[in-house]
């Protein structure tokens, strides 16, 4: 899964879709995940990076990650 090219992500979590004009705001973890996705990273690498930094476990992360992915798909932020 890839994030669309025209999605601009600020470090503070402000997202701008320059194709639709839509804007979103993300919390810090969401921002980190979206930036990793934008770099082309996939689930295993993202999971590793987040779990190294935050106190969580694989199951909790995966559930939250899948929720997050379904949300960004719903907002057409992904290329599919």
């Amino acid at each position: 899964m890839k994030i669309k090219k025209n999605i601009a992500i600020s470090d503070n979590g402000f997202i701008f879709d320059s194709n639709t004009g839509d804007t979103y705001s993300l919390n810090p973890v969401g921002t980190e995940i979206l930036l990793l996705l934008k770099e082309g990273k996939q689930l295993p690498e993202i999971q590793k990076a987040i779990l190294e930094k935050y106190d969580s476990d694989n199951a909790t992360f995966e559930k939250a990650y899948l929720d997050f992915i379904s949300m960004i798909r719903q907002y057409h932020l992904t290329e599919e």
């Binding site: 701008f16 320059s18 004009g21």
Partner: protein
């Protein structure tokens, strides 16, 4: 560089909740690095706010309504020109464009320049001709047809499903969910803009717009796509943002290239969830949100003035994406003497 002194007359000074393009057009011209413009306002009504914005409009003259015909308009323009020596007129209302197009040759003899669409361009993009326009130029347009009487309303279900759009010839558009609402909007629009009323298929999606300027030879001098972010109850943009959308720009180039569009225009489009674009309207003039284009790096009013004066204009190749505009309203304090002067003398 010394700026060239010119006199430009504009209409559309109604900077209200249904704003005319006059004031933002003037702001663009005032920001020109090439022109030092004296701005003459043309007003139809004595409460158009631009009349009283003296730092934007140098002098305002009332002009006759388009319904009065060409002769009174020309007489008035001759009088105004005898005082002001106008170089360029930029008419900004759909309803007055026909009169100015008709006067264009006579104005040229008076050394007044315009840069307007041709009669053919103006007519073929009329709302009632949009289906033929779509066919001719290979552009997606929603199905529509004109109706001329209330008796046609109940037969609409043969061609349309509800909801559908009820539109006036020049202005106004309402979404109707049943025949009763169509009848209500039909009467509302007829009393204002006359017949025909256009019934248009409702296409689901996001409304997006492009402002563009064609040089009359098929070249696009500038084009900026925008999405309305804040829409008033009249459907007007109170806030908007520039977009990065190649499909919208390609469509604009295609339309201007094929029609050899001359002058300013606004494309009103619906972008569906599948990213398909449907053309719902072409406004044959600069839209009221033109200052967003200026702010994004394309001074289209300045370019329009240059085209009108016969100067060479290099097409704009880029603009800032994600540039926004947010309108505001402000109370001006006006002395009764000013209102009196305009009402009694027709000029201020």
């Amino acid at each position: 560089m010394t700026k060239k002194k010119i006199t430009v007359a504009v209409s559309g000074l109604n900077n209200t909740d249904n704003p005319g393009p006059g004031i933002p057009v003037v702001r663009g011209i005032r920001e020109s690095k090439e022109f030092d413009a004296r701005i003459i306002g043309f007003a139809y009504e004595n409460l158009e706010p631009g009349i009283y914005l003296h730092d934007i409009i140098d002098k305002t003259y009332q002009i006759p309504y388009p319904s009065a015909g060409i002769e009174p308009l020309m007489q008035r323009l001759e009088y105004i020109n005898s005082i002001e020596k106008i170089d360029v007129i930029i008419p900004n209302f759909d309803a007055e464009l026909f009169s100015f197009m008709k006067c264009a040759d006579d104005l040229k003899k008076m050394n007044i320049h315009t840069f307007l669409p041709t009669h053919e361009q103006f007519e073929e993009r009329q709302k009632s001709n949009l289906p033929d326009f779509g066919k001719k130029y290979g552009v997606n347009v929603p199905f529509s047809r004109p109706i001329f009487g209330e008796n046609e309303i109940f037969g609409l279900t043969a061609d349309f499903t509800y909801p559908l759009l009820v539109k006036g010839k020049y202005y106004d558009a309402y979404v109707a969910y049943n025949p009763e609402q169509v009848r209500m909007y039909f009467n509302k629009i007829v009393s204002k803009w006359g017949l025909p009323i256009i019934i248009q298929e409702f296409v689901h999606g996001t409304e997006v717009n492009v402002i563009a300027l064609g040089d009359g030879k098929g070249n696009t001098i500038g084009a900026v796509p925008m999405r309305k972010q804040y829409i008033t109850d009249k459907g007007k943009a109170w806030g908007g943002i520039t977009l990065d959308d190649m499909n919208m720009l390609d469509l604009t180039h295609k339309i201007i290239g094929q029609t050899k569009w001359r002058g300013g225009m606004e494309l009103e489009l619906i972008k569906t969830n599948n990213n398909e674009l449907f053309l719902i309207e072409i406004n044959p003039r600069i839209p009221a949100w033109v200052y967003l284009a200026v702010g994004a790096g394309q001074n289209l009013p300045e370019a329009l003035v240059k085209l009108a004066l016969g100067e060479e204009v290099k097409p704009y190749e880029s603009y800032d994406v994600g540039k926004m505009f947010v309108r505001y309203s402000m109370d001006m304090i006006v002395n009764l003497e000013e209102f009196e002067k305009l009402s009694m003398n027709g000029e201020l």
